[in-house]
Amino acid sequence: MTVTDPRVEAGGRAASRLSALDSALAQFDRAADHLQLAPETRAILRVPKREWTVNFPVTMDDGRVEVLTGYRVQHNVSRGPAKGGIRFHPAADLDEVRALAMWMTWKCALVDVPFGGAKGGVTIDPRALSQGELQRVTRRFATELQGIIGPETDIPAPDVGTNAQVMAWLMDTVSMHAGYTVPGVVTGKPVDLGGSEGRADATGMGVMFTAERALAELGVSLDGATVAVQGFGNVGEAAARLIHERGGRLVAITDVGGGVANPDGLDPGRLLAHLKETGSIAGAPGTQPIDNPALLALDVDLLVLAALEGQVTGANAHTVRARVLAEGANGPVTPDADPILAERGVVTVPDILCNAGGVIVSYFEWVQNLQSFAWPADEVAERLRLVIGRAYDQVAEMRDAQGVDARLAAHAIAVGRVAEAQQIRGRYP
């Protein structure tokens, strides 16, 4: 098993003083200002509802005992159970998890699935672990989250550094403690264990659908469009493959180990084979090397950011020349970069819309688990297209009616829906 990690380190991320939490709070404040939210509603939504930090020992293969730190943050549960991924990453910390949990709240509200927002993380490099170590870390972390996660309370999913196998171990651990199988405790499971058809490609498929819509608004067809993709992990690989299938010409892709370019087009299938063989797409036959700064500055129709947060900032936004920038990752563009991109005429598909395909199909998986009924892949894809398409339409309508940018439109819809739910439910006691 390979745990794919879409981090892009080649060329490094652009320096920015804004952390993920700074960005998330700035985006929330802008939406709350626009909506003129009541101060008390604003105060509630600005902070996580619950957060846990756990320290736990794990025995490594060589007999050493390492004490690891993990986090779970539930930002808001007004609209339903908390939902959000678990990432294994050496840079994972509480503030990052807080930011990601807040974005999950807005993402679920924007696409109108009945979930609140959560996120989890363990500060560890999964690439440095054996399969046995990875399994022990996962099972012990799942045990630390006993009583916190559950099908009706908080439902994790894969994120950076975790995958379907990790979700299977999580589900199995919870089930062992419960004494019966609890498939609905996680989404993104293997299909054989109650996972949904299409879940693995769902985020990338959502990126493709929304990018295609944004290009169409500019009169550009995805068929024949030039495309650059930053990141070749769970999201970037699927997005690249699906865009390629729709006729998009992939001219450059970067991943954690480097980047490849070919003005005549790259074959994502061949790159994946090279990645499985060598651990990176770098050096794939028939390609030229490219680093991140060069990829971001390419004159392409579509730039997909599918790596980590903070890739386009106030320091490098002036180099972006793409017509459409699709945010496949969470928070890849910092708030100080937004006005620069807008001035340059770059159309941004905001992250809480662009990469919502994952949580939409996670919702489908949760529903299928609760009903003990499986949908075929084509039905999942069609329902995903309808749900994310409706959200895209609503953001576009709001953007045009209010004369605001798409990010503010998306956040205002999402924050407004959560504020409404919060107020309708009232205050306990």
Binding site: Q36, A38, Q394, E397, G403, A412, G416, A419
Partner: protein, 87 residues
């Protein structure tokens, strides 16, 4: 007659402002009245069963409550109202 200066004296600043909009809901044009106070908004709209009213710090959430009996959701409200001045 007893006068209460706090109530009867002309205010140096108006304490409220009325904004009138027309919204078209399911093909029917209806007047929507939004009253801006220092601490929030009151919205009202005529429906077949009488006036419907909503109040909130946010003009959008106030209007959404007023428009709810007509089957108008938050996104439609945001779109119908367009940009609003601050309270």
């Amino acid at each position: 007659m007893t006068r209460t200066p706090e109530l009867d004296a002309p205010a140096a600043e108006p304490t409220f402002e009325v904004i009138r909009r027309f919204v078209v809901v399911r093909g029917v044009r209806r007047p929507l009245r939004l009253v801006r106070f220092a601490k929030g908004w009151v919205a009202s709209v005529e429906t077949e069963s009488g006036p419907s009213v909503g109040a909130d710090h946010s003009p959008y959430l106030a209007a959404r409550r007023a428009l709810e009996p007509l089957g108008v959701d938050l996104v439609e409200t945001l779109t119908l109202l367009g940009p609003m001045p601050r309270a």
